[in-house]
């Protein structure tokens, strides 16, 4: 039999707002809908409710009761990201998830209770315990997961969506409705549980029907003849029959977090403080799905209108909040938005983190995730193009070089002996080459370098000179290079590589 779990977040607009602003959790906060005189409270925290703030009060009434009430407008961005987070939590339990909106998500958990059976004493084999206890354990785990993303969700499990929804709305969560006992479960509940916006409630009340069980006890045909198709559907629902199938929805391809700000921000630090919390939530959501961020998009809403978008490509997939925040800071410092910020949205494009298998006998391999994080932090510290894998480049000019993404191959399975070094004399390349003044002595047809005058140690009389060697490269291009190279040993020490290009002399390397 199909088993449906319903995730339900009571007072969803408030829960979504508190998720974005956790500092308000202990405050008297009310979520307000509407503007001006039409503004009215739709949800309030426990602290506000104890002072008498109830949904439906106008903002002026609420403030007269509690002057220190913190009022927040309903934030569509917050609610959207909270709904996505709830969806992702549900998706960790089963791939068949339906997004019903407004803090409600249905999951098909048929057969999933087997993973939550009680273990034997040695914690190896699951026992063949009863299904009810397993589902209860699963529901508790689901509530805990939702708590992890900052949403106080309740969970109900039943055979139909309707029964699961009603079970989730009950205060003593989690509630498990055993298979085939949906009608018994619903019978004592008031009719308002069936559907809060029930149009036929007043009619049924006049008939003397107070509970769902009373309605289920009536003959179906009689109810249908008096209330029409709505009556038939109500009767089915009262008996725990829900003909609506679960309609799974694929998970969104990216992770999104954002919020509207209470007042415009003009400084970077306060914005980064808020963005850090959003990145932290993004990181947790991606971790839950086993993803890491490979591209981070930032959209800022500006005052009075307009948007400012930036995209940051991360050098490697990572979930490290500090790294992403540093990259964000550097990017905004480099290109500030130019106007006060009133809202923001962060979109993380996920990718699978790099995985590798460690060797038992060979050299230790680097953890791909740690490596990716380190490279991202190094890039944020040093800038683009300063960290990576050095690559040999085809060509003839000695200063050529390239740098690419660092992705080392796995280490050998067994330890090897190091290869004997060639013991070759290395060169320190100067990038860019140092311009120097060279004193030459020309005989007929011959040039002898007698002295080099440059900065620092690159100065002195030439003890030995060797050359020239001609290099001509890229003669077909717009920037041809025709050089004559010399090796010179200076009397102050050091052997340098010089070249003459046109009339100018440069030192491009030191033998070191």
């Amino acid at each position: 039999m199909t088993r449906i779990a319903c995730f339900f977040v009571p007072m969803f607009p408030l829960a979504a707002r508190l998720r974005s602003e956790p500092a308000l959790l202990q405050e008297a906060v009310a979520i307000v809908e509407g503007n001006g005189a039409n503004a009215h409270v739709i949800a309030a925290t426990r602290r506000a409710r104890t002072k008498g703030i109830r949904p439906g009060l106008s903002l002026a009434q609420a403030r007269s009761i509690l002057p220190k009430l913190i009022a927040r407008a309903r934030d569509a961005e917050c609610e959207r990201t909270a709904q996505e987070a709830l969806f992702e939590v549900a998706e960790t339990f089963s791939p068949r998830v339906e997004d019903a909106g407004e803090g409600v998500v249905y999951v098909d958990v048929t057969g999933m209770e087997r993973h939550y059976r009680e273990r034997t004493s040695d914690n190896r084999q699951p026992t063949t315990g009863n299904t009810f206890q397993s589902e209860l354990r699963m529901a508790r785990a689901a509530m805990q997961s939702a708590e992890g993303v900052g949403l106080p969700a309740r969970v109900g499990i039943a055979a139909s969506k309707l029964a699961a929804r009603v079970a989730a709305e009950l205060p003593k969560a989690p509630t498990i409705v055993e298979a085939g006992k949906e009608s018994e479960f619903l019978a004592p509940l008031p009719l308002t549980r069936l559907s809060p916006q029930l149009d036929a409630a007043s009619t049924l009340t006049r008939w003397g029907i107070a509970s769902i069980g009373d309605l289920a006890g009536l003959p179906e045909s009689e109810v249908a003849s008096r209330l029409g198709e709505l009556g038939r559907e109500l009767h089915y629902a009262a008996r725990g029959i829900d003909p609506r199938p679960l309609i799974p929805k694929p998970m969104p391809p990216e992770f999104r977090e954002g919020t509207d700000l209470e007042w415009p921000l003009v400084a970077l630090e306060p914005f980064l403080f808020i963005a850090s919390a959003a990145l932290d939530r993004l990181s947790k959501r991606m971790e839950m799905q086993g993803f890491a961020c490979t591209r981070l998009e930032l959209t800022l809403g500006l005052e009075p209108d307009g948007f400012y978008s930036r995209a940051i490509d991360l050098p490697a997939p990572t979930r490290d909040v500090k790294t992403m925040l540093t990259l964000l800071r550097l990017d905004l410092e480099k290109t500030p938005p130019g106007a006060p910020v009133v809202s923001f949205a962060l979109v993380a494009h996920p990718d699978r983190p790099r995985r590798t298998q460690l060797s038992l006998f060979g050299p230790a391999a680097l953890s791909p995730e740690k490596l990716a994080t380190t490279i991202a932090r190094l890039v944020s510290l040093l800038g683009d193009g300063r960290v990576g894998m050095a690559m040999a480049v085809d060509g003839h000019l000695p200063e050529r070089h390239a740098i690419g993404a660092y992705a080392p191959p796995p280490p050998p399975v067994t330890r090897r002996k190091p290869e004997k070094s060639h013991g070759i004399l290395g060169v320190r390349v100067f990038r860019p080459a140092l311009a120097v003044e060279v004193i030459t002595r020309e005989t007929e047809g011959d040039t002898q370098i007698t002295a080099v005058h440059g900065e620092g140690d690159v100065c002195g009389n030439v003890r030995v000179a060797s050359g020239p060697w001609k290099v001509e490269a890229g003669w077909w291009s717009d920037a041809p290079a025709a050089r004559e190279y010399w090796d010179v040993e200076l009397d102050r020490g050091g052997v340098y590589r010089l070249y003459q290009s046109g009339a100018d002399w440069f030192v491009d390397a030191r033998y070191d």
Partner: protein, 310 residues
């Protein structure tokens, strides 16, 4: 382990594998086998050449056994082509190019904490870029290396790490050796690097060694292709000029005409579109004598695959 002998053998084997040799005999002898994992070794030389060659050899040795290595290249001096020719597996090498000493130390600490088994910090030539890092930063770096078992080498023109290092090896001086005498053309053959052990926590300092470093013709393909024998050494008219004077006063045509005359028959144009074997003919080979490569007092031209990339 059942006996004391087995225990000693086990510890000995363990200690031996805890060293990554640089495969440069002189340096390995001074350091008791090579760079010890978890320790920071400092290589210092201001005037003596050869410090960067030691860095390349250490990287080649570490990458050849499959370890991930990192080079913190403060001076941006690294030449990938030369390193590859020297045996460095570039795929296993992380090349980091900081701008200041502070950035270099921070980068080294991050990389060490990631698990790299060989980290080399080359701070370049004198003068250093940026201010010196405080001693506490080097101590923290040494502790990070110890915690992660990383063999760390700091290559600097003068001592930087203070008390944080396990050993200090100083390049006291270097002597270049040139081929050719009298009026004949010269060719750089090798540089002998004289090393001395200045400090070691477990060995007596003061030991010295000489490490010959060979100038390989493959270092630069121009040697293969366009070694030009300078004209005869009989000066007839001597004109002394400076490049600055040429640059300011002479036209490019005149400057070109003032370049030293070369024998066209002995120069080759390096051209990608030309046949590659054109770069495989060392012009200087005909005038050199090939001898055994282990005899450093003679010309050493071992037959190696020639780097056609130049």
């Amino acid at each position: 382990v059942r006996s004391g002998a087995e225990l000693i053998r086990h510890i000995s084997n363990h200690e031996r594998t805890d060293i990554i040799p640089t495969t440069l005999d002189a340096l390995d002898t001074l350091l008791g086998g090579g760079l010890q994992r978890g320790k920071l070794v400092e290589l210092v030389s201001r005037r003596a050449a050869g410090r960067f060659s030691v860095v390349l050899s250490a990287l080649a040795a570490a990458t050849s056994i499959g370890e991930a290595a990192a080079l913190i290249d403060l001076g941006d001096h690294f030449d990938p082509q030369l390193a590859e020719a020297n045996g460095v597996d570039l795929r296993r090498l992380l090349w980091v190019r900081p701008r200041t000493v502070k950035e270099a130390v921070m980068s080294a600490e991050m990389i060490t904490a990631t698990g790299f088994q060989m980290v080399i910090v080359d701070v370049g030539l004198h003068p250093l870029r940026g201010r010196r890092a405080p001693d506490a930063a080097w101590v923290r770096l040494a502790r990070t290396a110890e915690a992660h078992g990383t063999a760390m080498l700091v290559s600097a023109p003068y001592p930087l790490t203070g008390t944080a290092c396990e050993a200090v090896v100083k390049g006291t001086f270097s002597t270049p050796r040139w081929l050719g005498r009298g009026q004949s053309p010269r060719l750089l053959q090798a540089i002998d690097l004289h090393l001395s052990l200045e400090k070691h926590r477990h060995m007596r300092p003061g030991a010295t060694a000489v490490q010959p470093l060979l100038a390989w013709e493959g270092v630069d393909a121009r040697r293969q292709t366009s070694v030009v024998v300078p004209a005869s050494a009989q000066p007839r008219s001597v004109v002394e000029s400076t490049s600055r004077r040429v640059a300011e006063g002479a036209s490019p045509t005149e400057a070109h005409q003032s370049l030293p005359a070369v024998n066209p028959s002995k120069t080759r144009r390096l051209d990608d579109s030309k046949t590659p074997q054109a770069t495989h003919q060392p012009l200087a080979a005909s005038r050199s004598t090939t001898r055994r490569p282990d005899d450093f007092n003679t010309l050493t031209r071992t037959p190696r695959p020639i780097n056609t990339r130049g």
